[in-house]
Symmetry: C4
Subunit: 310 residues, 4 copies
């Protein structure tokens, strides 16, 4: 029925037009090849998201630069008011006084307050009172950002760098391997694989939801080889390596899981292009057993051996 | 069956009585035209919600005013005790002493503590100890609020300002366009459109859940034109612009999505009144492709061209 | 079928034995009448939960008491070391020195540090360094608690204090009314009502899931009168007020909603005992319309008028 | 049908190879017997997760050690610059100066700033300004960690240390008992039990999802005896104690619930090995009723009495 079809069809929301063989809808790290133009500043900006997502190097760069700039500003302000409003300034040159005001500002904004230099009169007191309030708010914000950065759940799933097409039961199967290298437990892990193929003599693309050997597991303590059996119902049925390259195949993978450490749902995305498939190779076995348990050698996730296709 | 009907019917929980053609159940920004009266203070108040939802200008206003007021209060307290209990007070006038006490209070509540002025005796020490505890608690609260304000997930979906009724396949369709202007990825985006029509010769309203071309997408990297095909089953079937205005039509849109940055579900709401529909106009194409990816021109979300209706 | 029955049956996990007519499984505020005994200290304790759930008065009591106690402890420590290790101690009596040490401790734990009194030698410096670290950790904890207290989502649903049995269409209905007095929007509100009746000549109780006129709404901006129509399939069919009292009826209400302010699911529970039902009364209409919108008078949620039962 | 089977089959994602009778897939505390090898440092590390999950003793150890180390570092730095750049250093020996610099560093990083010792020249001022910024960031991080540690939802479910096989209705049943010893309410509690049996003459294991008397309850205020009735469809049908030991049976339990205190889903896991089953024992009744409510004696969760099996 039409309805059943709809039920089964997993609408990805991706563009159906083909661009080139180089193009991939989804990059290996799960980002999209989409740029947004002419977004107005306030619509497009998301300060928290940016500050939480940037690299630690960037983040500390922003913090240190901000700290430096704000102290420069307040040092100028103290100088403008006149350093006679501060006790404990010993320099006689303007530059020397600026330096002392700069460090007085640093001691004020961090609420350190050694007291060696201190505001004496109304004007300096007002500026210092405002600066210390500002300092507390800025570090309140920094606290939130540090927490946001650390507590951001990231699906830490590692994908094998290649997929393989290998013998599976009496037919062949499209396979890739995933592992969670971290210590957080991922639960109720669900995987969806969609195949995008270029239509013959057209620049449109068709999307096929691939049936999987198993698409959901309750626990994910070791490693998981996701298998799409290429049976007679598979859109890959009867295709060889050349066909798959010709049709600019892209396998789009979406994994959803519940991260127990953060008690939140996490998503992971990746994709395999036709060029990233090894034909007639099979993944080696990663786990070793002894009487007390199982050991998984994560570094061998990409290793394969030759296996004749059916 | 009755049951099937129930299953399909999406009960919005809105009032079924019509008021006037000007009235809209849902404002364009997703708020409701509902006022609650005679709510007792403690039942109605939600300090955190208010402080997290108010504008930044308001929020900083509240902070600065609070800081000023609390320092006024404590300055009065120090004056009441007597400034002879503080070292380092030089003023001889009451007003001058009040000013000095005010800034001593500011240095205490921010835990700055220059030490130029310091409590000397029991009474002043007690007040200062309480004030610094209070200060830490207030700034603990401010930290929470800053985090709450920044980490509040907001469905940042931007709607086309008008909907259109345009040719779609061999019939017509009701269409509007949405885009996510921010960098956060929205996943598993689900849209529901409900049509509210005034019943003939009555002030009651009927609600219809509209069937959509597609109602859920897994990714939402570019733009989405939501389409309700006006086929023979549509409640809009056979209506022209005049009928739709007469029946005071309101299209109520609810979008649910998973915001990956915040790992939380977000909702967005909007509505289109009959007056906000352009008949015989079609949205222009927003995306441009090159070999490396897709570019979306967000600023053109409202642009349409004339298209003859079927 | 057995299966259908199971599907429909909403297992509450409550005890099926009857105790007395006074007993209610669920209190009006949603708590349970259950006490746990002999729970070992570490199993039963949940410090965060307790500190976040207690009243503000209690919470500030704990904070102030903790602050006082910890300063007492450190003051004793400084005295033990000897006040000659601190500069700026002027008292000659032990009590006076203790007081000064107490306030020095307060200035240290809040990282205020006026510097009037300061550690001079190794021992005092070690204690002060530890105390300031401890202070920062304690206020880190307090920050988390303040945030936890404020950001805790609470289903703020207000129930009518009585339920009614009133005419509904051509039969009667069991009805109660709910309203959200706060400004947070509740979305996808779902209500479940379970009826618990004492079995005749037995102390066992039976539980019945009640069919509702509507059990889920998408928005909840105004008020909602939840209706269970007493048709021929209802477990209340044919019962009068006397029967319902005799059978010690308890209507257990569970409401689940999505709180938009906190982006989290919230639950609200309450119950109506047979004595809390008004027979032959109907709730008055709460909402008033004008051209710009709807006004809800929350204070009239309990008001009813007499209506002859069918 | 194949489909029905799939629906019912609960894929745990565990290894199907048997190791030894000692081996258990799941430890009693819900952890897995899996070790990951050769994980690269950056892939495997999850600082936040580690610092939030470690014991309080460990956590405070890390904090104190970090505090000590960072002060050592900065003390060395101040010494390197030369203590003539600091006012208030009285020692004449290098060691004495180091000690004073150490405590000056502690006063700076906690933003205590007594001011007794203070930076005098440019170099010392720069180091102190950096140190105080660093201090604020570190304590921002500590604040986040404290909050993360306390607000981490943990499914606090306590399992009976043994399971029993006891008479149930006219057949027998596999039973274990769970209780929530904490005050947080768990809602919508769902339990899944999977039986893992060694295949005869093979080292492979089969997994069976066990049908339960009831698998979900809305409330969980008291205690819950989870029962799998050993009827003719049960994989345990016809097995005696000896068979169950021989087949190295492991009962894997997964409980999912909604923790109302944290508004989050929580998972709890445990397992019972064949050796942890008491045959012909029944759990005693834990709850006592009086007119005002129910009392549960949590300490008796493991107590059983002899009961002849059917």
């Amino acid at each position: 029925m039409n309805l059943n079809k709809k039920e089964k069809y997993n609408d990805l929301g991706l563009d159906t037009k083909s661009i080139s063989n180089d193009y991939r809808a989804l990059n290996k790290d799960g980002t999209f090849n989409v740029k947004k133009e002419n977004v107005s500043f306030f619509e497009g900006i998301n300060i928290f998201h940016s500050l939480v997502s940037m690299s630690w190097l960037h983040f500390f760069g922003v913090l240190v630069l901000g700290y430096f700039t704000i102290n420069l500003l307040f040092a100028s302000l103290y100088l403008l008011i006149g350093t006679e409003h501060l006790t404990g300034i010993y320099s006689t040159t303007t530059f020397g006084q600026f330096i002392e005001a700069f460090f007085f500002s640093a001691q004020t904004i961090t609420t350190l307050g050694y007291g060696q230099i201190a505001p004496l009169n109304l004007a300096a007191n007002i500026v210092a009172a405002i600066e210390s309030l500002l300092g507390l708010l800025i570090f309140a914000l920094a606290t939130g950002l540090m927490y946001g950065r650390f507590s951001k759940p990231i699906a830490t799933i590692k994908y094998s760098s290649h997929a393989v097409i290998a013998p599976y039961n009496k037919i062949n199967g499209f396979m890739f391997r995933v592992v969670n290298p971290k210590n957080n437990q991922l639960l109720e892990v669900e995987v969806n694989v969609t195949l995008s193929l270029k239509r013959d003599n057209s620049d449109l693309r068709d999307f096929y939801s691939l049936a999987l050997e198993r698409s959901k597991v309750v626990f994910f303590p070791t490693t998981w080889t996701v298998v799409h059996p290429i049976d007679s119902k598979s859109p890959l049925h009867g295709y060889d390596e050349h066909d798959v390259l010709e049709k600019e195949a892209e396998f789009i993978v979406v994994i959803k899981a519940f991260d127990e450490s953060f008690s939140q749902s996490v998503y992971s995305r990746s994709s395999y292009k036709a060029q990233e498939i090894k034909w007639g190779e099979k993944f080696i076995y990663l786990t070793q057993r002894d009487r007390t348990g199982i050991t998984v050698d994560v570094s061998k996730i990409d290793e394969t051996y030759t296996a004749d296709l059916n």
